[in-house]
Amino acid sequence: MSAEIAVSVLVVIGGVFTLIGSFGLARLPDVYMRLHGPTKATTLGAGATIVASMVALTVGGEGWHAQELLVALFLFLTAPVSAHLISRAALVRKLDSVTHGDSTGNGHRRPDDEPGADQPEKV
């Protein structure tokens, strides 16, 4: 019974955090802001759901196992790497930000002569 309560709480936390992360992805005005929701809230929701699955299958299945921790570990290791590469791509493509100029974050490219604009990488 206590395992059922724990699984329910973890599953509800995972669903709510997943929804919050995707809501931030859909509503925030800027690509750099939009990266925050998926890389923090959605990863936490996925981790909570994976731990809930581990507990539920340990109690109701055939004995103890922790294979789902492999998925959680992989996700926690690779989500920051993906976020870093995506943000670097956004910087190199000179996507405008709300706090960096007067745009609305609608994918406007910054001009090269604007002060503070990042220079593209040497390929």
Partner: protein, 89 residues
């Protein structure tokens, strides 16, 4: 109680996937669409885990692991392409 919690979480993840598809459609730049795809495959992993909890089975673990690995490789590849214009230099 556990069934109600799993149904609630499935509803949340379904709405989250719909929001990801919305961002994938209207994303102004390719980078926004890449973020939406990244989030979409993480949400697919969460949905597979919820189905595994509901049916009390372990067979959904391997698809989740495969989706995680292949999604990471695809995200890194597309990000590299958007940065440099070519994948193999």
């Amino acid at each position: 109680m556990m069934d109600a919690a799993v149904y609630f979480a499935m509803s949340c993840v379904s709405v989250a996937m719909a929001l990801n598809v919305y961002r994938l459609v209207i994303g102004p730049d390719a980078v926004d669409r890449l973020v939406a795809l990244d989030t979409l495959y993480i949400n697919a992993i969460v949905m597979l885990m919820l189905v595994g909890i509901q049916f009390n089975t372990l067979i959904f673990f391997e698809p989740a692991l495969l989706i995680a690995m292949m999604g990471f490789v695809g995200t890194v590849t597309v990000a590299k392409y958007l940065r440099r214009g070519s994948i193999i230099e």
